[in-house]
């Protein structure tokens, strides 16, 4: 097997100075959501990290995850990361097709047996394997064959992580998540519809830097990005604490940027990094654009009730929890829960 250059060597070959390398490490720590105190360790790891092979499988999906990843204004840091991985198979991005494409996948698996990373977007249909095939191979067979020699598997997007839209009620294709089929390898979920581009590249950077997947939460999501709720880091949180809410999308509160809780914001129970990482080259995120969070990185978010109904009406399995918070005296929680109950009564009356 040919010796792959280390990331340090790749940077050196590009004429990057040590100062440039320090800058690279600082921005890598930032995109990995690691504390700046980790920069020396990152520098040490990056200098010796080798270029891993990556195989990307797309099953029942809309290609939105790939669009998110590739249509982002890619910073050089990410560019370097992509120079520093070997993306050996990706339906949408690769030039090869048919037998040649499948040959590339098999070659990557053989050459890097035990060391390669498999990325999957899309869910896998089990009701009838013929619902989704690639080169005549069913999704479930291709997944099983490809992960056999993988070091780890990353489920990109809510479909691969939790079943997503294909798995939504009544789930006509019998769609399942990657983690339901791959039980003998480390599986990391990077949900979102789509996931934040920089989160996808950051988890690759983590694997590249440290040779292993980062710490995960109970849903298999990297804690660095899914460790706090949208609400925890929302810039409108101070308004929640003050009890200032937008009641409609065009009232004075909405215009003043008050909290969107009563308009159905799922931020309090949604774990993701949108509030700080933001979208479109760091321009903003849905709440900043005036729309409540839909909770797209949570399991089965499509089947959790109306997007515009407040959490305290009991959707998203959280009504009891929030009502409890109100009971223990979070002043605002009390206000919100009361308002939510009012809203629920209104829906009941109208519905």
């Amino acid at each position: 097997m040919k010796r792959t250059p280390t990331v340090g060597e790749i940077l050196q070959a590009k004429g990057v100075s040590r100062r440039g390398f320090l800058k690279y490490c600082a921005t890598t720590a930032s995109i990995l959501a690691l504390p700046p105190t980790m920069i020396p360790r990152i520098a040490e790891a990056i200098e010796s990290a080798r270029r891993p092979s990556v195989i990307w499988l797309s099953f029942q999906e809309c290609t939105g995850c790939t669009e998110s990843l590739t249509r982002s204004a890619t910073p050089t840091v990410e560019g370097l990361i992509f120079d520093a991985i070997s993306l050996d198979y990706h339906h949408t991005l690769q030039a090869a097709a048919g037998d040649q494409a499948e040959a590339a996948r098999h070659a990557a698996m053989e050459e890097n047996n035990g060391d390669y990373l498999v990325l999957v977007d899309g869910s896998i249909p089990l009701a009838n394997p013929g619902f989704s095939t690639i080169a005549g191979i069913s999704n479930v067979d291709m997944l099983r064959e490809t992960v056999a020699g993988a070091k780890a598997v990353v489920a990109i997007g809510s479909c691969a992580a939790f079943g997503g839209i294909p798995g939504a009620d009544p789930n006509p294709t019998g769609a399942v998540a990657v983690s339901e089929l791959v039980t003998d390898k480390p599986v990391m979920n990077v949900p979102g519809c789509p996931p934040i581009p920089i989160v996808m590249t950051a988890v690759l950077a983590h694997f590249l830097t440290f040779g292993e997947l980062p710490a995960l939460d109970k849903h298999g999501r990297p804690l660095a990005f899914y460790g706090t709720t949208i609400h925890d880091r929302c810039y409108r949180r101070p308004f929640y604490e003050q009890g200032r809410f937008a009641e409609t999308f065009d009232d004075e509160g909405a215009k003043a940027g008050w909290c969107l809780y009563k308009l159905g914001c799922k931020g309090p129970i949604t774990y993701n990094a949108c509030a700080t990482t933001k979208w479109n080259s760091g321009t903003s995120f849905p709440i900043e654009a005036g729309h409540p969070c839909l909770g797209c990185s949570e399991p089965d978010f499509w089947d959790k009730g109306g997007f515009y109904e407040p959490l305290s009406t009991g959707n998203f399995d959280s009504g009891a929890k929030l009502a409890g918070a109100a009971a223990v005296g979070a002043a605002l929680g009390a206000v919100a829960a009361t308002a939510g109950r009012r809203r629920q009564a209104k829906y009941t009356k109208e519905g």
Binding site: R18, A26, R236, P238, G257, G282
Partner: protein, 130 residues
């Protein structure tokens, strides 16, 4: 306070996210003076509402010293109006911001000449004399 209360100019664009950060910087300055320990704050990990980041930058102001670094895109490193508090902004080759940090230190490490670069430079200088 009721939700029908009219929003005032005072409410916008300041959502109350800057003041706690200024307090954190103040504590970091104390730590630098007391123990010499530097602090780096990654601004990408903190919530800011519209206008708040600009307000923070404006509040910290500009001090006596600033430097430009040209490596993997440009970087601007400047001491704020508060000595020991530095504002670092890293851009990529497309001039997009890829990192913003506040460093509380005597001199940001990235300003120092690095041994690897000094060694490479010495070799180049030596070649010129050969």
């Amino acid at each position: 306070m009721t939700t029908t209360e009219t929003a005032t100019a005072r409410d916008y664009p300041f959502h109350g996210n800057v003041r706690p950060l200024l307090a954190e910087i103040l504590h970091a300055v104390d730590r630098l003076l007391d123990t010499g320990e530097p602090t780096t704050i990654d601004l990408a990990s903190l919530p800011f509402g519209p206008g708040e980041l600009a307000y923070l930058e404006e509040t910290l102001g500009t001090g006596e010293l600033s430097a430009n670094l040209d490596a993997l895109g440009s970087s601007r490193i400047r001491e704020t109006a508060f000595p020991g508090v530095w504002w670092l902004e890293h851009r990529n080759v497309h001039d997009e911001i890829v990192g913003r940090f506040v460093e509380i230190t005597r001199t940001p490490e990235i300003l120092s000449s690095q041994d690897a670069d000094i060694t490479a430079g010495r070799a180049r200088l030596g070649d010129q004399l050969d």
